[in-house]
Amino acid sequence: MSAATDLAVRLSDASVRKSWDVYTAFDWPEQLDPEAEWYMLPELISIYGTETWEGLSETEQKRLSFYEIVNFFSFVLYGERPLISGLMNRMYRKRTQGPITDYLHHFIDEENKHMIMFGEFCKRYAGKIYPEKKIVLPREYAKGEEEIAFFCKVLIVEELGDYYNLKMMSDKTINPLVAKINKVHHIDEARHLGFGREFLRELADETVDSWTAEETESFRTWLTQYLSSSWGDFYNPAVYKDAGIKDGYGTRKMAMAHSACATFRAEASQKLVDYFIDTRLLSEAPAL
C-alpha cells in the first residue's frame, strides 16, 4: 500500500468522525454592517503596509476589510469548482480505486459544503460573488504533466487559503462568523492538504525523472507563473471600488508592485514554495 493510500484510509475515518452539516453549522445574522467591525484581519488585507492603506480612516479600512473577505471567499469558491470537477474525473480509475476513491468522496463532499458556505456568506451580505476572470485555453502537456499540474493547482488554492484561515480562525478582533467560517474550512482543509501533498509527491517522484530538461524547465516556468497569477486574485479592482477607492486598477498595480506586499506574499508562500522545491517541481524560490 502506498503512503498516499495508507493516508487516505485514515483521512476517510477522520472525515466520518468530523462530518458536519453546512445547513445547520452556522447562525447567519440577518445583516452585517461593513463599516462596524473588522472582517478580513487588517494585516492580511491586500494593500496593508502601503501609503494608500495608511491614508484610509479606520471606518474606510473596515469597509475595505469587508469587501476583501467577500473577495477571498469568492475566489476560493471559484477555485474549488474546477477542483471538484477534476477530482470527480479522477475517481474509480486504476490509480485511485479503493481507499483513495473512498477518500475522494469525502474530499468532494467537503469542498461542496465549502462552496455552499462561502456562497451563502457572499450572497447574503454582499449581494454577490465576485466573478472570476479566468479563461482556460487548451495546451499541450508532457507525459504525466497534466496530472501534476492539476494537483499543483489544488495545493496552491488550498495552501494559500489555509494561510489566511489559520491567521483568522482564532482571532478575536474580527467578526465571529468570519472567524468560524475560517475555522470550519481549515479543519477540512488540513486533511485535504495532507492528502494532496502526499499524492502529488508520489506523482512527482514517478514523473519528473522521465521529463527532458526542456520539459522540466517548461513546467517550472508554468508553475511559477501560475503561483504568481494566483496571488493576483487577492488584488481585485472591483473590491477597491466597492470600498470607495476610486482607481481600482491603479490600486491593484500599486499594491502588487509594492515591497511591503511582495514581502507578505513571499512569507505566505514560503511553506508551499519549500514543498515544490523539495519535490523538484521548482528549482528555486520564485519572485512573487
Binding site: 466573478p131 476572470k133 479563461i135 482556460v136 485555453l137 508554468w222
Partner: protein, 88 residues
C-alpha cells in the same frame, strides 16, 4: 476614447507584458496567443486592463477564447461602440 487610442493601448500592454519590442506585433491581425506573445495565465491581467480601458466590467461567461486571437477581435468584442478613426 477613440478606436485608434484603444488599439494603441492594447498594443502597448501586450508588448510590455510580453517583454517584446514593437516589431513583435507588426499588425492588428497578428495572433497574440498562438504566436506566444501572451499565455493563458496573462489573460486575467489582460481582462482587468481591458475593463479599466473601457470603464466597464467584462462578463467572462459571455465571451469565447477566440476574442483573444488578435487586436482586431479584441476591439470588436470589447469596444464595439468605439469611434472608428483609421485603425493601425
Amino acid at each position: 476614447m477613440d478606436e485608434k487610442a484603444i488599439r494603441e493601448g492594447l498594443r502597448g500592454w501586450i508588448i510590455d507584458r510580453a517583454g517584446a519590442t514593437p516589431d513583435a506585433l507588426p499588425s492588428d491581425q497578428q495572433a497574440i496567443l498562438d504566436d506566444g506573445l501572451l499565455s493563458s495565465l496573462d489573460i486575467v491581467e489582460f481582462i482587468l486592463f481591458i475593463e479599466d480601458l473601457r470603464e466597464e466590467e467584462v462578463d467572462i461567461e459571455a465571451i469565447e477564447p477566440e476574442v483573444f486571437n488578435n487586436i482586431d477581435s479584441l476591439v470588436e468584442a470589447f469596444f464595439p461602440d468605439a469611434k472608428s478613426v483609421s485603425p493601425a
